[in-house]
């Protein structure tokens, strides 16, 4: 089931949650709506579900306009951020709910409901919890039951609001992979909302980056990470250093190196973005003002955080006292043997200078 969102606008009082947002979601894809809190991603999800109505614009499911269709008729599965399990019903009854409330003509028999619920509980690997009540489950279990409940009505579209938001880091990672596998098995068009770029990059087929009620970029995880459309996307996906530069004739100088700015960049002050892992560190050796080292500039190591797979090094640029953060592998770190207050040479390998000021 493909979803098409056309120029949807939604205001809450004076706050504009969505500004003419248009988006096409092809059938069978797993799409992430990614953005900081308040960017309108949950509102968009709720509009797709029919829990909110847009002020203007339209929603189409498989080409059919569903903008004014009732939530009940849309056949969507919705997993709420805090799961919203019915606390006074057993897990079994929670999952069976969508089938039991159907009108008599279309309601499956008790035996059918029983086998369908069992099937779903097996799918989420929690069939042994059928008689428990939601408060007796862990966060990860509740999440999976909420998903089973949403799937029970055979939704044409599956919508998930911050599906991993309320879980601790380890469970979150596990469930992420599990959701991806489940999607590959079921192939139901799915949209999930997240503010966690790592989650979006790992799970989604496509990512929709949103900010302040607008879509900033749509693309595969690789697209948005490697070729961010603008400064916002670049900053939002991964760590980044900001570096003030002077642009003239589309070029800016950092150290002794010239970098070209993006198309449309005006002359004048601009911010260059450098990812921490794109900064190369080398030790100054005698007479190294030659060759490749030409591009390098001097800095002092102000702090080293040697914990984890990557070593984070804080550098103070000697010319202007600006702080840059660099990341290097443990191996490289051992080989360089740098410590606090060492003088080093740094070379930015990739720099992006965007047209708009930020």
């Amino acid at each position: 089931m493909s979803i098409s969102i056309q120029q949807v606008r939604k205001n809450f009082g004076n706050f504009s949650a969505l500004n003419d947002v248009s988006l096409d979601i092809p059938s069978g894809e797993l799409v992430a709506l990614l953005g900081p809190s308040g960017c309108g991603k949950t509102t968009l999800l709720r509009i797709i579900a029919g829990l909110e109505t847009p002020d203007s614009g339209s929603i189409h499911f498989h080409g059919k306009d569903t903008t004014h269709e009732d939530v009940r008729e849309r056949q969507v599965g919705f997993v709420f951020q805090h799961y919203a399990l019915f606390r006074h019903m057993t897990v079994f009854e929670n999952v069976a709910f969508g089938l039991r409330v159907r009108p008599k003509q279309t309601r499956p028999s008790d035996a059918e409901i029983r086998s369908r619920v069992q099937e779903l509980l097996q799918l989420v690997q929690l069939d042994w919890l059928a008689d428990r009540y939601p408060p007796q489950l862990s966060g990860g279990q509740r999440q999976r039951i909420a998903l089973a409940r949403a799937l029970a009505v055979e939704p044409r579209v599956l919508l998930l609001d911050e599906p991993f938001g309320a879980l601790d880091a380890k469970v979150r990672k596990e469930l992420r992979r599990w959701l991806r596998r489940l999607h590959d098995e079921l192939h139901v068009t799915s949209v999930f909302v997240t503010h966690d770029q790592e989650e979006a990059l790992e799970v989604a087929d496509r990512i929709v980056v949103m900010n302040k009620g607008n879509i900033e970029q749509i693309g595969t995880p690789e697209d948005v990470y490697q070729h961010p459309a603008n400064a916002f996307v670049y900053q939002f996906l991964g760590n980044v250093n900001h570096y003030q530069v002077q642009v003239s004739q589309g070029k800016a100088q950092i150290g002794h190196q010239l970098f070209s700015a993006e198309k449309g960049a005006q002359d004048g002050l601009a911010t260059a973005f450098i990812r921490p892992h794109d900064i190369e560190i080398s030790k100054p050796t005698r007479g190294n003002v030659r060759g490749k080292q030409d591009a390098a500039f001097k800095a002092t190591v102000s702090h080293v955080l040697p914990v984890g797979p990557l070593v984070r090094v804080e550098l103070k640029v000697s010319d202007n006292d600006r702080i840059l953060e660099a990341e290097l592998s443990q191996e490289k770190y051992q080989a360089l043997a740098i410590k606090q207050d060492d003088e080093v040479l740094i070379t930015p390998k990739r720099v992006r200078i965007f047209a708009e000021p930020s």
Partner: protein, 295 residues
């Protein structure tokens, strides 16, 4: 560093405990004062009601209760409660539902209106009905023409009772439903449930203890109401006297034994209500506790 910090925290906590703990004699004194107060103002009057009622022996007691006028007063009290409680239950649930699940203009006005019966004196409430439905009232002539009696008749008593017990259920449910939010209802909606199905299968089970508590409070007030009912009743013996009014009449006629006998029945009903209330409080506390443990 962490360890020393937590030790500090521990110390400060125990110090705080010690700081809050009064010496034994202060504690005992406070308990004594409380007990003395309760005895003087609550327990003694209650005991007095029963001892006065039985002063002239069981025979007088029983005959005062099975007296025709007394029985009719009890009947009227039960009728008033039996009409007011279900009506206010429905209204309270509807109002709480509207206030907590929807956004609409005038919501705060509605909340204030619900509190009105708490704010105004019951006597004023009674007078409002006299003003509206009494002979000289707005609808007085029309009612007379159509031969409908409200003031100095049972409908007036029921109306006054409904008015004073109006807020209990809604007041009990609004905070509860606000705390529960509307996510579960939305989940039901997305799963295809109709409004009625959502109410019966999701909302009602979630609020049942709060609702019952509200009903008990409503009932207690409905049976005990004096002021508002007194204004609209007309005190016609055997016709428009509720139990509290009957007690007053007997007392004014110096028929103390009978007055206290009827009063003791009223007190018993109140005690019974208290027992129910305590049971429900205990039940909800247990439900809350288990929910918290599982959190």
């Amino acid at each position: 560093m962490h360890i020393s910090k937590s030790v500090n925290q521990y110390q400060s906590r125990t110090q705080q405990k010690r700081a809050l703990a009064e010496p034994a004699w202060v504690r005992n004194l406070l308990i004594l004062i409380t007990l003395a107060f309760l005895t003087l103002f609550l327990f003694l009057p209650l005991a007095a009601v029963f001892s006065e009622a039985l002063r002239k022996g069981w025979q007088v007691y029983i005959s005062a209760i099975v007296n025709e006028d007394a029985l009719s007063a009890m009947k009227l009290t039960f009728i008033a409660a039996a009409i007011a409680v279900p009506l206010n239950l429905v209204f309270g649930v509807a109002a709480a539902w509207a206030i907590t699940k929807f956004n609409f203009t005038g919501k705060s006005i509605l909340i204030t209106l619900i509190d009105l019966p708490f704010a105004v004196s019951p006597v004023i409430a009674g007078l409002i009905y006299v003003l509206m439905f009494g002979l000289q009232g707005w609808f007085g002539e029309w009612l007379l023409d159509h031969d409908i009696k409200i003031i100095f008749a049972i409908p007036g008593i029921v109306l006054a009772t409904i008015f004073v017990t109006f807020p209990f259920v809604a007041r009990e449910l609004i905070p509860l439903m606000q705390a529960q939010g509307k996510e579960e209802e939305e989940a039901g909606l997305v799963l295809g449930a109709s409004g009625w199905q959502i109410f019966w299968r999701i909302t009602l089970p979630n609020i049942k203890w709060g609702l019952l508590y509200g009903v008990i409070l409503t009932n207690a007030r409905a049976m005990g109401e004096f002021g508002a009912v007194s204004v609209v009743s007309g005190h016609i013996r055997g016709l428009t006297n509720t139990m509290p009014l009957h007690v007053e009449i007997l007392y004014n006629e110096y028929n103390y034994a009978a007055a206290f006998a009827v009063a003791s029945v009223l007190a018993l009903l109140a005690l019974l209500t208290l027992v129910f209330k305590t049971l429900i409080e205990w039940q909800t506390a247990r439900a809350n506790q288990s929910a918290q443990i599982q959190e």
